[in-house]
Assembly symmetry: C2
């Protein structure tokens, strides 16, 4: 059995005994076989000494059990790594950032505590997956949609806390931004409720996010300041209809006015769906009839039918005012979709969680267990056509250099609009079990990080193995933001027991000088 | 000259000398006449020993001068109270929460650093008022709107930091929620940039609010953790048109389905303007032709003309499906409004800041300087008709009790939708220079706070004199949220020099046991 770092075997034995007492012996995992289940299947260091590995795992079933586990960890200085469902694939999965941490697995806390149809919100525990919440809503016959990411087996809370986005409409697509109210267990074991939840007998915990005084919720995003045990989310009232508009152009430079039009339509909320930009590079889609358009922008709209029809006509008028740009209006779909209609669409765009993304990423009947997956380098770039063209050149000019002249199977660039005003330019790296290939991929990833940072671009989210690297690029004023976070870390978790190293924040005793 | 508490006269003299060196002698104010300008004209303790008073004021003109002032304050342990333009009327104005603090007046930092029309955002300093930003945009001929509150002379940053809301459309109405990126001077004098601003040479500071890692921006809302010296805000692309729909009913119980309809329309963003609910109590408006409707809901919509027409028809269909409910569609107004059209409307609804609210609150040509003003008790109540009816009964049943059987001139209840999912029920108290009347008003205010908290209702914002009282109602788990904030306060401002007591957070040496 592995020992957590800086913990004696007798102290660890005492901690394990206390945990077995608290959560039941069946829910403390120490065997190699059990602990191996918490490995990150897509670790860029798979099988190498640098792979981040858990020493054990403990799975509490209630708030009180979480508190007990944390108090014991504090007593014996055992590092914990809380996970929700452990499906944070491509970002570290269920493996800790700090090797030897004990995974605090919250999957058993899987209650949907409330779904309020009239005020369109949900209150859930961390073990609730998108599938669970969808099933609950469907069984209860409630007329609200969830906003699923790809894929749907992850935790609603976990995805939001890691900064994830989904595929229906704004503002629901921004999962952290669409939350309202939290319950958090601090490293001390104390329970805090945020926003209006700090009021005993509160009746508006999921009605108003800000509450009174300093808003602390943001601290628990991509962080190690506490363990979120309940979280509220705004839900989308089922939209009556959906239509997709697609703007295309054959000329590179047209992306500048096209993106200006899209920005305006989204900023005034006339286009509200998960817009996507295709083309402009090797990643572009094949066009119908042979001649591929260079750029293609998808602009989905949700709402009442007459409104959606007016919105799509408005969008068409604005796009086609650009010389050479065409705009195609798709079939208007009324909700709820029939089973036949649902089979023809991308289900996440209709609030239905699924796992089809895995087939897109290489899993197929012919190859049911592909040897590896992908991780992404995904910097935020200003939402202008000029920036997009600059990124396209940047990718073309540097691909060979960062790849050491080899074809590493990198796929890019992919342009994504995440949240309401953000453009993410994604470069996908294959990751597998071949140590030599993984090492080359890591060097390439690091190369992109440095080259992008020189231009003022950096990632919004990172795989565990690269979290320190990315954090180091956010260095304004001698890393002032990181130092502020470290001072808060020391205040709220003085023994540094929670998720050491997550997103670059280390406790004092593990901090590099 | 008054001395700050716990500061010796020689230390204070040294601090003043250092500040004169840093900001110029004309910008350090110590005379009684100068310091009196920072009094809160609407203090509920006007002229009484409990009135919160400044000891001096200092007005830096740049980031570097703010840093210098803060470092000196830290050296001599002088309490500072930063204000932006000092127009936080009804919430303490420019007076400190902790008597004897030195006001750090940021009005000279009044640069509009950027207004980006294509991506619809602004970056401003704290001294920039809504008038300033509007003038800048108008002179530059940019096609974006600001979201003014009543009145327009306040600071864009100050209003957002205090949790204010405005009168155009969601999501811009939520001023803190519509911000993107901050620059903050900490108590140490260090400068932090948040979100993407932490990246040197960042190109997306005002494009993505979340950045990478824990989000600290929320900490600077209604707080004393730092001094915000720059802040980005999303702006609204000028909407092509506006129309107001008004739903009315003669029956009390109709508010239940009416509010359900409004919630759904707002939650799906079909109605996007600053909705208002009138009636149901003594505060109801007179109806046309004598017969007053009991309830009246105003639902303004902004957007392209054809879209707005479809939206208002949809809203009408949903409201009039409730038996007995009528829906009137106002004149559709195209923007930019002519001067004649602008003279007929409420200008803040069209992004034009002004001071007309003062005439609504009793100032008139006949009475240009009324002896006092109003402060509001404004708890957040769940957005349902049942809650609204409960608040109406609550008000009627308790008005005489909390007022000691007297008519104190209280006006209420007023129902306001602030931000996208929040209902605020407002009770307005007159405040003046009569100490006996003020004492009665204070007792009544305190009475409402306690009675409301028993029902799970509490305020989102409070006058300085009542900030501790309101904070004490957010007491879940033995004031766990307050204790978390205190631990952060101790970490980021160990000497407790910034805004002691603001929103109930006191530094360690002033904290009650």
């Amino acid at each position: 059995m592995a020992l957590p770092p800086h913990v004696s075997s007798s102290d660890f034995a005492s901690a394990l005994a206390a945990w077995r007492q608290a959560v039941g012996k069946d829910w403390v995992f120490t065997s190699d076989a059990d602990v191996a289940l918490y490995r990150d299947a897509y670790s860029p260091y798979w099988g190498e000494p640098e792979e981040r590995l858990a020493s054990a795992a403990v799975a509490p079933a209630s708030l009180e059990e979480v508190q007990a586990v944390v108090r014991t960890a504090n007593q014996y200085r055992v590092p914990l790594y809380p996970i929700s469902t452990g499906r944070n694939l491509a970002y570290g999965g269920s493996a800790p950032v700090y090797s030897g941490s004990v995974v605090l697995d919250l999957k058993r806390m899987n209650r949907v505590l409330e779904v309020n149809e009239r005020n369109a919100y949900a209150l859930v525990e961390p073990g609730v997956s998108y599938f669970d919440l969808y099933d609950h809503i469907t069984k209860a016959g409630l007329d609200v949609w969830i906003d699923p990411p790809d894929p749907g087996w992850g935790s609603v809370i976990g995805n939001a806390l890691d900064g994830g986005a989904g595929w229906t409409a704004n503002p629901f697509r921004d999962h952290f931004g669409a939350h309202c109210g939290m319950e958090v267990v601090l490293a001390s074991g104390e329970v805090v409720r945020t926003g209006m939840g700090a009021l005993p007998n509160s009746k508006s915990w999921q009605h108003n996010r800000w509450g009174y005084g300093p808003w602390v919720d943001g601290l628990f995003r991509q962080s190690n300041f506490g363990i979120v045990t309940k979280m509220g989310f705004y839900l989308m009232p089922r939209p009556e209809s959906y239509v997709m508009g697609t703007a295309t152009s054959m000329r590179d430079e047209d992306i500048v006015p096209m993106l200006d039009v899209l920005n305006r339509l989204e900023n005034e909320h006339v286009v509200n769906g998960s817009t996507q930009i295709f083309g402009g590079g090797p990643g572009g889609p094949p066009g119908p009839g042979g001649a591929a358009p260079l750029w293609s922008i998808q602009a989905p709209i949700y709402g009442p039918e007459a409104v959606v029809r007016a919105q799509i006509e408005h969008a068409k008028a604005k796009f086609t005012a650009i010389p050479g740009v065409k705009f195609e209006v798709g079939e208007l779909l009324r909700t709820p979709l029939t089973a036949a209609a649902l089979a023809r669409v991308r289900q996440v765009n209709f609030g239905v969680p699924n796992l089809s993304t895995f087939s897109m990423l290489g899993r197929s009947p012919v190859n049911p267990n592909p040897d590896g997956g992908h991780i992404g380098f995904s910097p935020i770039v200003p939402r202008t056509g000029e920036s997009l063209l600059e990124f396209k050149r940047f990718y073309a000019e540097n691909l060979s250099k960062v790849s050491g002249g080899e074809n590493l199977g990198v796929v890019g660039p992919v342009y994504m609009t995440c949240w309401d005003r953000t453009l993410v330019c994604l470069i996908m790296f294959p990751i597998g079990r071949d140590k030599i290939k993984n090492a080359k991929m890591r060097r390439a990833f690091e190369g992109w990080v440095h080259l992008a940072a020189e231009r003022g671009w950096a990632e919004y989210r990172a795989p565990a193995a690269f979290q320190d690297l990315i954090a180091s690029t956010y260095s304004y004023n001698n890393h002032a933001l990181l130092r502020l976070r470290e001072s808060i870390k020391d205040a709220v978790d003085p023994n540094g027991i929670l998720s050491a190293g997550r997103y670059g924040v280390w406790p004092k005793h593990l901090r590099k000088a």
